[in-house]
Symmetry: C2
């Protein structure tokens, strides 16, 4: 099916579909950097008091910084599935937890990734962590539209871990992993790809394993930050971004290239969710989902900070628009953010749905947050079902501390209905049901 979709997006179609204004210029190169478990609050430009990220701050200050950008899941595999396909992860079959070493499934070949959607106009590469399946036929990333791959199949705490590098013939060469060198290896591979890609537009997806544990900074960064090993690896990541930008400049491509930076979910046991509560894996609360989004495109995007609500599922349609590529013929949940980035337009979303595994956990609108599911100790608590749904005015109360459910009956009626509609629409797509356990009252 992947092949048939590619056939549909025939060579000429992409350019023919370009809007008139865009057709005149070459579509931008695109670099999408996705950190692993980096918190919203762990970059200087997002207010970290401890971690120095001058290169990312420079990109943010010169470009667009989004304050209300969500990952499409609170853990890695579904979030990446959502980002790559432009669809809520539950549509891809990957909503449940993360893929483990023993799992034999992966991103279905029927899904259209950003890399596939940008074909044939773009040269494409994935440098970094994949984590969307590492058993045939779902693996390697080259079966999903990436011309080249240099990276690891899953998280850097999963064993055995190997570094794979694609050969010209599509086979993979395996190299041992040295954790301390991973960030450099990923970025080196990406920089090599940039230098080799002058002939046509390229899409480089750079997915470092930092700052996922284990935290193993390279020699030059070990102990250098003011924020422990976590700070070291984030600062190392920032420095690698600096190298990448310098390489772009060196290749004369800076103004032709859109650089995006985000994270796959909120922070785990370390790292800061900023003013949000909750963390990676915690159902419903913003801290598991809110991540940085920086969009830098010198000469095209003017400096802007926006609180438009958005999600990583928006990247596929946005990048298709910017590249002049047609949208894939599938149900997309993501929307085009180019107006937000270019003109500061309002969010194209009336609402965003936050999932916890196969369950709808929360809804976000521009002003409100409805939390219908959370964890308490070892209990997965269906708050909406036990008569205790939560409504927060997140524009005023980003920490989600003051429940306005009783005070805003009209908003509650609206959001409750939307929550039920989302549940009825999406949860049947789930692969398996996770049982509920009610906590004993206390």
């Amino acid at each position: 099916m992947s092949l048939s979709r590619r056939d549909m997006i025939a060579a000429g179609a992409a350019l023919a579909a370009l809007p008139a204004a865009a057709r005149a210029v070459r579509p931008p190169n695109i670099i999408l950097i996705v950190a692993d478990d980096l918190g919203w609050g762990d970059l200087g430009c997002y207010g970290s008091p401890f971690i120095r990220t001058p290169h990312l701050d420079r990109l943010a200050n010169a470009g667009v910084r989004m304050t209300d950008f969500y990952a499409s899941a609170n853990v890695c595999t579904p979030s990446r599935a959502g980002m790559l396909t432009g669809r809520y992860p539950i549509r891809t079959g990957l909503a449940h937890e993360v893929i483990t070493v023993k799992d034999r499934h992966g991103l279905p070949l029927s899904e259209v990734t950003i890399a596939e959607a940008l074909k044939p106009g773009y040269a494409t590469m994935l440098a970094g962590k994949w984590h969307l399946g590492h058993a045939a036929p779902h693996w390697p990333p080259m079966v999903h539209g990436f011309d080249a791959f240099a990276g690891i199949p899953y998280s850097n705490d999963m064993r055995p871990l190997s570094f794979f590098r694609s050969r010209a013939d599509g086979t993979l060469a395996e190299e041992p992993v040295v954790q301390e060198r991973l960030t450099d290896q990923f970025f080196d591979a990406g920089i090599d790809f940039i230098r080799a890609s002058a002939a046509r537009p390229f899409f480089l997806m750079l997915t470092p394993s930092a700052p996922h544990i284990p935290l193993r900074p390279g020699k030059a960064f070990a102990g250098r930050s003011d924020a422990g090993s976590y700070g070291d690896v984030v600062e190392e990541l920032d420095a690698a971004v600096g190298r990448l930008v310098a390489a772009l400049k060196g290749a004369g491509l800076e103004r032709d290239t859109l650089i995006l930076f985000t994270s796959d979910n909120g922070p785990w046991f370390e790292g800061s969710a900023g003013p949000a509560q909750g963390r990676k894996g915690g159902a419903g609360w913003d801290g598991g989902y809110l991540v940085p989004l920086i969009a830098s495109w010198p000469g095209t995007l003017r400096p802007r900070v926006t609180d438009a609500i958005a999600m990583n599922i928006d990247l596929l349609p946005t990048l298709c628009t910017l590249a002049g590529a047609p949208l894939p013929p599938v149900t997309l949940d993501g929307r085009d953010l180019s107006g937000v980035w270019r003109r500061g337009a309002a969010s194209p979303h009336e609402q965003l749905i936050l999932f916890n595994n196969e369950r709808v956990a929360a809804l976000r609108t521009p002003r409100w947050k409805f939390v219908g599911r959370s964890y308490y100790r070892s209990y997965n608590v269906p708050l909406a079902a036990i008569g205790y749904p939560l409504l927060f005015d997140v524009t005023r109360d980003p920490g989600e501390t003051i429940n306005l459910a009783a005070r805003q009956p009209e908003v509650m009626a609206d959001l409750s209905a939307r929550f039920i509609a989302a549940r009825d629409s999406f949860e049947p797509l789930g692969l398996r049901q996770v049982p509920d356990f009610l906590p004993s009252a206390s």
Copy 2:
């Protein structure tokens, strides 16, 4: 056994044990107010931007406000057991979760409560929620040293719920509960007790059910706050404290009375933990344990804000000291805070232990926080045992975001050893073991 302890603390002993300076004056009346599930950040004087608490703010501004005061557990029953006995709750057999309606156990009669320790010098009353067992012989609070009781046996979300009022003969009269009137009922009973207690020093323990759910503000407060039903009930609680203080003044007792205000654990699904992360029931993180502590004693305690580490187990020894009562002949974990309150002395603790059920979850020292156990989704994760213990410099990083374990090997060696020692010393006291489940890596 309770009786024999009371015998030991014979009538004359208390006064004979008074230090010379204290013997000259009548020991202070003591009012200990304990909110239910109120967060550290939910009072104006602790920085709430949403909830107005002028009466509590006034007590705090005129007295001592502690910024680093911990509940002895992250849920209600063990925290109250620790507070009442001056001992880590695991010594009392009540470390595990909370007592539910069907449970038949309670605070052992062998335990010495603050009320018992202050006998016979003090008239004593509990007005509010008990939640330390409601089956004979552990119930009612009168078997634990309280002369009188007016309140509810457990949390206000447990059914069936009745309001009990003790008669002079020690029996209980039962009244139906009207949630909207509970706060007023508790405080009315306390104020009646104050007015009837001019003859000798009194100890009034006031344990409102607010702001535990269900949140049912009284008519005068419903919709009045700027912070939903949660804000309404907290503001109602604050107003009730104002009525109490006015009644004290009216009785001419203001300068003879120490008023304490705290909470039994961090906030649950609503409410703010201030800069801390985590909430009620969440293992290890400060948000489950950090609570306000206000100590007001006009003419005796001067205005002071202190970051001395302390815990509600300190109240028993502190109150014994201030009352000139001998310490009960049991193993106490709490320490006397009177020097901290009077002179701004350093904390009497080298460390505080934070428990999650029967498990040691974390250690706090004046500067450091060691987290050895946490929850991730439905998993109870023994971080220390899986090689990922967390060390935070909470004086600089109260949100516990930057793990300094790798950066501070000497501190880690010290705290790891203390953590193991605490585990080895306390966990065998646990009634039952809760199995560990490791999360799959992601």
